[in-house]
Symmetry: C2
Subunit: 449 residues, 2 copies
Amino acid sequence: MKPISALLTLSFLPVFFSSQQLLAQQTSAQTSQTSAIDKRYTDEVKAIAEQPAVKKAFQIFIDLEPQTKQDHITLTEIPSPPFKEAARAKKYAAMMKEAGADSVWIDDVNNVIAKRKGRSGKKTVVVESHLDTVFPEGTDVKIKQKGDTLYAPGIGDDTRGLTAILAVLKGMEKASIETDADVLFVGAVGEEGLGDLRGVKHLLRKGGLKVDSYIAVDGDGISSIVHRGLGSHRYRVTFKGPGGHSYGSFGIVNPHSAAGKAIYYFTTEADKATRQGVKTTYSVSVIGGGTSVNAIPYESWMEIDMRSESPDKLNEVDQLLQAAVQRALKEENGLKRQGPDLTVDVKKIGDRPSGKTDITAPIVQRAIAVTKYMKAEPQLDVASTNANTPIALGIPAITIGSGGIGGGEHALNEWWLNDKGYLGMQRILLVLLTEAGLDKGTGGSGVKR
Amino acid sequence: MKPISALLTLSFLPVFFSSQQLLAQQTSAQTSQTSAIDKRYTDEVKAIAEQPAVKKAFQIFIDLEPQTKQDHITLTEIPSPPFKEAARAKKYAAMMKEAGADSVWIDDVNNVIAKRKGRSGKKTVVVESHLDTVFPEGTDVKIKQKGDTLYAPGIGDDTRGLTAILAVLKGMEKASIETDADVLFVGAVGEEGLGDLRGVKHLLRKGGLKVDSYIAVDGDGISSIVHRGLGSHRYRVTFKGPGGHSYGSFGIVNPHSAAGKAIYYFTTEADKATRQGVKTTYSVSVIGGGTSVNAIPYESWMEIDMRSESPDKLNEVDQLLQAAVQRALKEENGLKRQGPDLTVDVKKIGDRPSGKTDITAPIVQRAIAVTKYMKAEPQLDVASTNANTPIALGIPAITIGSGGIGGGEHALNEWWLNDKGYLGMQRILLVLLTEAGLDKGTGGSGVKR
């Protein structure tokens, strides 16, 4: 998860709406919903939190801190670049097995799945963090500690998440907490960038796991509740021509000229289309092509990102890009004085579904109730996380933080500080137990699973 | 020299003019001028070529072939990347000294200058080839021989030229040929690409050498006579903004959007401006910028090349670029929704003057007469070579070939074949002697220099 600066907190809501009318409407609606949180969730959370076994688990998280730190360091120092998560997956699976999961397996794409059986097993709740980092092979991932702060690429995003849910499993085992639903602790591949949520897409594919509730753990702190998936489309557009000497071959098609036209048409129209309504963004982010200043290039490529919470708005901007590319292609071919036509390849390199889990859904209500129980301020966020996929499939899903504080995500100086990090595990456990159901066997009084 | 495919030969002239009227006019003018070559030049060439000492030199070039081949290999295998010609310069200076030059020095920019004094020394004639290749450091420059063909990066362009003028000096020494003018044999740095003719610009700078006649040796064969300098301007344009997250920072300026607009405005206007008149070209050749598909880039850069034989036309296209860049900057800043303005840096990275040595100038007439004397077909060419600089300064200048045949210039599989390569040295010597004046002391009968 890359934190986005625009947080949908109760007070920051205005950031998202350019229309005053929409703003007023949404703000009041959200405020009343939040303050009018159904009392049964507040009661439910309190009842679970005050069970002796749960209190015991809370203390275990604190007692386990030195071991949790060691797990965090071990995992962080196993590089896990995009599409190359295998080594970290293997170690993580072993840790999950050691922690007491009933069964652990690594699937075809290197997701780690650790199953902890519930009493009835009628439902399945997923608690997941992602194995991949944004950092390429060869990045130095050795931890550097300065004071109490740990520095390393990927230390927070999302290795802290992996460590936190591993600790939750350990706490549940040691405190003999039983759930009604099966719980799957998952280390997922491919959350970042071009990974394009491939791990979770594989988990939840047709014929894959049947999941009733999905809790992704990503980002720090204990306030954020991402319940809206920010959808995105990403493209790599490549114009190709024969290329040649800038003087001798003059008059052949120039791929950069076509790319320039496409950027001009796309950004001009997309600017107009995004000035009203739900926040929708577009960015021509990376461009390249050409070998020498005295040569007409044989190719010009650009990578484009577009995002919206609204699938319709996202598709509208997508169509503007497609139209701009085809118009530029046609016009550049119309100007050529010699040689073959320009061609274009439009490749979709990212497709993250948008959508939301309604604020009235039990999973969101429970997360709010848990957050308030822990005396933190709930932040209802929109982001692009692994929760996007279950949300788009209609599975109740949220993304919550892993505790502590951190920064520098996606940068080499990424850091994480264990400022009462155990609160992260406590919060994850409570949200999980409200969703999975605390069984009567909890505390060792029931039938052995 | 990178040969350009459009050669201005007598028969190929139509390539250069899109207007039928201009075509007819220029073709006839050129044909009559060439056929009406002043008889005194034909006579002059014949008289010089039949001097016993000159005939002796002609035979010496043939006898020296094994040593010339060895010199060619030695020089080719000393890497000479742009801006890093020092090692080759040092060796070339030693070879020039060994060959019998009166004095040899390496100037501030690593040009090698070997002076051979003339009887009067009232005038100075330069014979020059360039030391630099286009190939970066680390390129394998080891010669590979297949049959009679030598393969190596830079073997033709312009290491053959360096070898040829070294052989010319040796032949003049061994045949005791005396000239009236001083002759400077020069190995020049910085002819290629971003070198931007810096070696010759330095030689002929204000306060530099006083030169009356300039013969550049570049390219193969014995037909080409480049008497027109193809001018070029080259720019690196960089738009800069703060950069940020594609969603969280949306609304800040996007440098790629500005670059796209600039390319659109520039190429649309330049297309119109170059459809009439003297051939004038433009190319957006290399583009780049951006770090990740989910980030608004902090910079966008592009390298642009424009060329014309006409300084006016070149300036016209240059102005279109400047206007397009400023318009794009203004418009992109006008669209921003937050954050600081975009800035732009327009850096001139190349400036090769255009111009021509008139076809009636003695140096061109003499080169035509020499070429015909050698039973080759003169090709009057336009190109961007080291002769551009003296031409722009009003110094009579041409570029002629070094003999043999070659290909693959600027490519790793560059090759050169010694197909009567000695004819190249014979031709260079004759053109040089017509310009420098053959002194009565020639053949050892005169006063020792």
